[in-house]
């Protein structure tokens, strides 16, 4: 008999067993142990490349399979006449425990598939980050009544990553192909106006991809050349300040 060497990743020995049962088209409630055990062990040979600790779990099940197989080989039926007595068979079938485990495992494997589907449906709906409420007033939050734990932190972090994923392409990458130096120059001037005529050099570079940062930089150079703005540094290593150029300076 030949078998194909497959290196599929199984989520454990039960998963492999379910796979074999499906592939062999055998009845999960009436497993031909000899055939299944042989297939299972052949797979183990093919999977030897796996890490040893993973393999050990597969070997435990292999031992169980062999044990069941050998039990079934033993002549447990004293009188042939009672062969088709169902009660007797159900109670004593050495496969029962394995079948129960497989069925239980399959329930969750199926549930995992349905979960994945609902996640896919969910991913068709996008939402925005919360609005900037600071424009409506200033309030100091973090209510002490609300107990926090590290899992809140992790949740917050995950949400942030998702937001960043959504946000970057909508604003930054579109800006990349669209914004010109002259447009950015206008933006910088109106930003400066909003900031009362001066702002930190770095605040102008707070967002955007490399291309738009370059556009910003070029715009600053252009504005300096036109004598619209001036850049100041109070002392070595201090932050650069960008400001409107004063009349008569």
């Amino acid at each position: 008999m030949s078998y194909k060497v497959r290196l599929e990743v199984f989520e454990g020995p039960l998963d492999l067993l379910l796979h074999l049962i499906n592939r062999l088209e055998i009845d999960i409630y009436d497993i031909p142990m000899a055939e299944l055990t042989q297939q299972y062990i052949e797979h183990l040979h093919a999977m030897r490349v796996l890490r040893l600790d993973e393999l050990s779990e597969y070997l435990v099940l292999a031992a169980t399979l062999l044990e069941i197989k050998s039990k079934m080989l033993l002549p447990i039926h004293e009188g042939e006449a009672f062969d088709d007595e169902i009660e007797y068979e159900i109670e004593d079938d050495p496969r029962d425990e394995l079948v129960a485990r497989l069925i239980e495992y399959r329930k969750y494997k199926d549930a995992a598939i349905s979960l994945q589907q609902s996640a896919e449906e969910r991913s068709n709906h996008f939402t925005k980050e919360p609005g900037d409420l600071s424009v409506f007033g200033e309030v100091d939050v973090t209510d002490q009544a609300d107990p926090l734990n590290v899992f809140d932190l992790i949740g917050a972090f995950q949400k942030m990553i998702e937001r960043k994923r959504l946000k970057t392409p909508l604003t930054a990458s579109i800006a990349k192909s669209e914004i010109s130096v002259s447009e950015r120059m206008d933006e910088i001037m109106s930003f400066l106006e909003k900031e009362g005529g001066r702002c930190s050099f770095y605040t102008l570079f707070e967002r955007g991809d490399t291309a738009s940062l370059v556009v910003t930089f070029l715009s600053l150079l252009e504005l300096m050349k036109c004598n619209d703005i001036t850049v100041e540094q109070n002392n070595n290593f201090a932050d650069l300040t960008v400001m409107f150029r004063q009349e008569g300076v």
């Binding site: 990743v9 989520e11 454990g12 020995p13 039960l14 998963d15 796979h19 499906n22 592939r23 009845d27 999960i28 409630y29 009436d30 600790d53 993973e54 779990e57 099940l61 485990r101 069925i103 239980e104 495992y105 399959r106 329930k107 969750y108 494997k109 199926d110 549930a111 995992a112 598939i113 349905s114 979960l115 994945q116 589907q117 609902s118 996640a119 449906e121 969910r122 991913s123 709906h125 996008f126 939402t127 980050e129 919360p130 609005g131 409420l133 734990n149 899992f151 992790i154 949740g155 995950q158 949400k159 998702e162 937001r163 994923r165 959504l166 970057t168 392409p169 909508l170 990458s173 579109i174």
Partner: protein, 203 residues
């Protein structure tokens, strides 16, 4: 129920500002000073407005106990096109299995999960914790004081569930099912409308 347009508008503006955080019925009730019954009528009217307005790109969904304004599913492809170079978090089959077990069995210990799967689940559990989908929900009494795991609100949100009772029922393995795997699979497929590219035997 008669609904005050002013309050519907107010509700919409709150939901808009809350964004992906969403607001629970309870929070909305407090903010708008409405009864639960009134609030649900308002939410109903908002949803209705979005569906009826032919040119609306938004709709209202309940995920993890919070209502959220979201974009309509029909625009998903257009939006996804923009997100090309930043793929969403993917989750491995192993993590998904562990997540399913925790979702249905919570609170549950690692050993119970391992037993069900027949394989160690430490890696997937760590991944799920760091993805914010599961969390510690206390400790088991007695020796060892094993950690009990449960799902988070973020799980409900990411998997589009209003609450845990929204989870599709697990398949039973009672007597009727015995010997009839075909029926089992058909039911499963009907329930979740698996598209049949090898859906039945997930090999």
């Amino acid at each position: 129920m008669e609904v005050d347009n002013q309050i519907v508008g107010k509700t919409e503006s709150f939901l808009f500002l809350a964004g992906d955080e969403g607001l629970s019925v309870r929070q909305l009730m407090a903010l708008t000073e409405q009864s639960e019954e009134q609030m649900l009528a308002i939410i109903g009217q908002l949803k209705n407005s979005y569906e009826q307005r032919q040119d609306s790109g938004l709709t209202l969904k309940l995920f993890g106990g919070s209502y959220r304004l979201v974009t309509k599913a029909e625009y998903a492809d257009d939006i996804k096109k923009l997100l090309e170079n930043s793929s969403p978090k993917s989750i491995t089959q192993a993590s998904l299995e562990v997540l399913a077990i925790i979702a249905y069995q919570q609170p549950v210990t690692r050993v119970e999960i391992d037993d069900l799967r027949g394989v160690k689940s430490e890696g997937p559990i760590h991944t799920l914790i760091s993805n914010g989908l599961i969390m510690e929900k206390g400790r088991l009494e007695g020796s060892g004081r094993a950690i009990l795991y449960g799902t988070t609100d973020l799980f409900l949100d990411r998997f589009g569930l209003a609450s845990l009772s929204d989870l599709p029922p697990l398949m039973h393995n009672d007597e009727e099912d015995v010997g009839d795997t075909d029926l089992f699979m058909t039911q499963f497929q009907e329930a979740f409308e698996v598209d049949n590219n090898g859906g039945g035997n997930h090999s």
